[in-house]
Symmetry: C2
Subunit: 461 residues, 2 copies
């Protein structure tokens, strides 16, 4: 870090002043570089993640713990000096986990480590017992005949590919809902999946699933990778019978909310950054998404400490109930739909705590010079210029769909799905030096986006 | 492996023939090298570990599952072609785990991942709740005044050092019994320890503890490392109250047993190798001690396949009830105490599945040339000559105490305490190439020990 500051950032200053001269005024670039330098020396992001994961812990959408997280967020925003701090409430369908267990009943009695997927129905009291029918992939189950699975437990044993950019997730996650719905169509009594994850530890990965209407609802749980292996090995030796007991409950609407704090600007335009406040119930939500909260709130705090008013308002949004279907993001987009043209750009951090390696955008095609100008400043942090098909993060989705430009400060997600949605997602997995790099990048990005003379939307033709 | 065979073993043959010429006849050395070469190409050890951990799974001392493991062992011995296959039963005090949970009640309500230590008493029904008092080490608790802990929960937050030779364990493990007994003396209502382990995953490590007579029995559980961290962080912010519910039961004497199979020799002398058949209840006992079973039974099978009768009988012993206090080892020593002079040497594999890097002995001082002669053959496997203070493995302890010479084929235990006594001790953690190296070393060692012209005990003076 010291080397980067001594060499990189001073070189960066010169290089980026040259590269960005046309797009960004010298003072803004100088301030962005100050933010980078100070952020790399600061533990502000790391400390916020510590505080959230320790003082709140797990915070499931709609739970009493998520309400405590909102109180924590309001207090934290205020303590740090943000303005217009507020909770914007909305309603979410609440589901919770009670007791869950699975075991091989025959031929080799032993426990299996599983976790119910969010939104699943419960098994009948006392559990269900059935013969396992394994499918190597969701596709194999979809292609299977409609007959032959009545009374059985479907096991979709599909693997997930480890990638830097997390692209393995989009494929693997389909089985979460798919396995239950395909099993339901065929009269199966339950479904099991190999966890959507890349680790080889005995942690099952939870995550939201959704039933298709008019298909019988089948309870579904994920096996940890070692337990999926064990079931696979047992099946090589003959028929296997498993007992599954999932005590979970859907309890109807509960209050959730987005928590917002601002650095007011000179104009009514808004740069929006943030993460999501809720987490799954198993871990303490450090990488998902304590990291995003710490990174973006920490970055905004670095900007606050500059003590210079940005041109545009910098709004930090901690979205509620992301995990169960972007409920907070949809509520935000609905609430602000008439003001969306004032949202000049949005970027969410929701991919863990790994270093940022690429700056992707979704700008008007005639505005890509702004992407290059911003990236020129971020480059010394090890961040390359990416493409123009950024998502901006899950919670920016509803606003992106309505035309808001977005950026993705793309993190290295190589290890992210080792921890994602498991009990093992805890604060000790957070690396302070990686968080500091993220804070530096978000602070510089948000500062430049707030002060840049121009817009990211395509110019009217 | 191929490189080792192409270069190493052929060089080894020449070198070891030279080095060992005086101690070992050429034919024995040639056969030992054949065993090494064939073992490196074989998956016999790996396959045995697979079979035991899949077809039996967890096998707690005295449980129905341990009985199934004995049946598995008898069948495996017979299938592989061993002679004099038998179970030698003994009795063990049976303890079992039912349901266990812990949570921070205030100020930050959240679950903690814990596991009860073996032999602990249960908490009262419904659990106990108390304020946490942290001690940075067992020593700090021992040095604490007798007053001030009544009604509290003691938390011994001592760390374990990661080492290649496992030497960090001997120090760290003292808190398992120590924390409960010191807490009991002081009127505490329960004790928690940071797990005796080296990982940073959310797995608590179980293990046996023993109460000192006449001290009140206090229930005790281990926290996973991330949970110990969390408690430590919460305590930095003020008083912390924890609720602990440990439903466990001591159910009195149950049957256990050692399982034995042999390669009969020309004489009535015995070379004894083995591992322990029981495991803790949380994992499937792959590294502890499925590995030792696979390595030593696999090595003996390689010798069987030589189809040459050894001079001495090679006896493979799968000890029962090791984890709860070397109960099988003590039963064996008692049963064979009048024949112990016929046991020329013993070696147990009970330190996981890592590669062997050192050959330690406990021979008569005038017999160390035999250690050098055997090591000369093992050297190309990456095995150095060690010292003469070997333990021979836990289950050789009672016989070692009665004067039996032992050897330790010392494994690299760098990662062993990441998995030891956790739910994460599963078959996927076993590396086939490491097991093959272990099988090669044990096969060569046992073959040389069985055919060597001489004894390892000190000569009468």
């Amino acid at each position: 870090m010291t080397l980067l500051r001594l060499l990189g950032v001073s070189v960066a200053l010169i290089l980026s002043l040259a590269a960005a001269a046309e797009e960004l005024d010298k003072e803004t670039v100088r301030e962005a570089n100050t933010l980078i330098s100070r952020s790399l020396d600061s533990s502000v992001g790391y400390d916020i993640i510590n505080s959230l994961t320790t003082e709140v812990g797990p915070r499931l959408a709609g739970s009493e713990a998520e309400a405590r997280a909102r109180d924590w967020a309001v207090a934290k925003f205020k303590t740090l000096g943000f303005k217009n701090v507020r909770i914007e409430p909305f309603s979410v369908d609440y589901w919770e986990r009670h007791v869950e267990s699975a075991e091989i009943v025959s031929p080799f009695p032993q426990k299996l480590h599983i976790t119910t997927l969010g939104g699943s129905v419960a098994t009948k009291p006392g559990g269900v017992t059935g013969q396992i029918v394994r499918f190597a992939s969701l596709k194999a189950l979809i292609d299977a005949p409609m007959a032959g699975l009545a009374g059985k437990i479907v096991f979709v044993d599909e693997y997930m590919t480890r990638t830097q950019d997390g692209s393995g997730y989009g494929v693997a996650v389909r089985k979460r809902s798919g396995a239950a719905n395909e099993a339901g169509k065929r009269g199966a009594i339950a479904a099991l999946i190999r966890s959507v994850g890349t680790d080889q530890h005995r942690f099952p990965h939870t995550g939201q699933m959704n039933y298709v209407k008019q298909i019988p609802k089948v309870p579904i749980a994920a096996l940890s990778a070692p337990d999926a292996d064990q079931l696979q090995r047992a099946l090589l030796l003959g028929e296997v019978e498993v007992k599954l007991s999932l005590e979970v409950e859907s309890l109807g609407p509960r209050q959730s909310g987005n928590v917002i704090g601002e650095i007011p600007g000179e104009t009514d335009e808004i740069v929006i950054i943030g993460g999501h406040l809720d987490s799954w119930d198993l871990g303490t939500g450090a990488v998902d998404d304590g990291a995003g909260i710490g990174i973006t709130l920490g970055a905004a705090k670095m900007i606050l400490d500059l003590k210079r008013k940005p041109q545009r308002t910098i709004r930090v949004v901690m979205f509620g109930s992301e995990e169960v279907g972007l409920v907070g993001a949809k509520a935000y987009a609905e609430a602000y739909k008439t003001e969306l043209d004032k949202h000049v750009i949005g970027a969410e951090s929701d991919f863990g705590g790994g270093k940022i390696w690429r700056f992707d955008t979704r700008f008007g095609k005639d505005k890509l010079h702004f992407a290059a100008a911003i990236q020129a400043v971020l480059g010394p942090l090890g961040i390359a210029l990416g493409d123009n098909s950024a998502s901006g993060g899950p919670d920016m989705g509803p606003m992106r769909a309505l035309g808001m430009p977005v950026a993705t400060l793309k993190q290295n997600g190589w290890d992210y799905f080792d921890l994602h949605h498991t009990a093992n997602d805890t604060f000790d997995k957070i690396k302070p030096e990686d968080i500091a790099q993220n804070v530096a990048a978000y602070a510089a990005f948000a500062w430049m986006a707030a002060n840049l003379d121009g817009h990211f939307r395509a110019s009217p033709e």
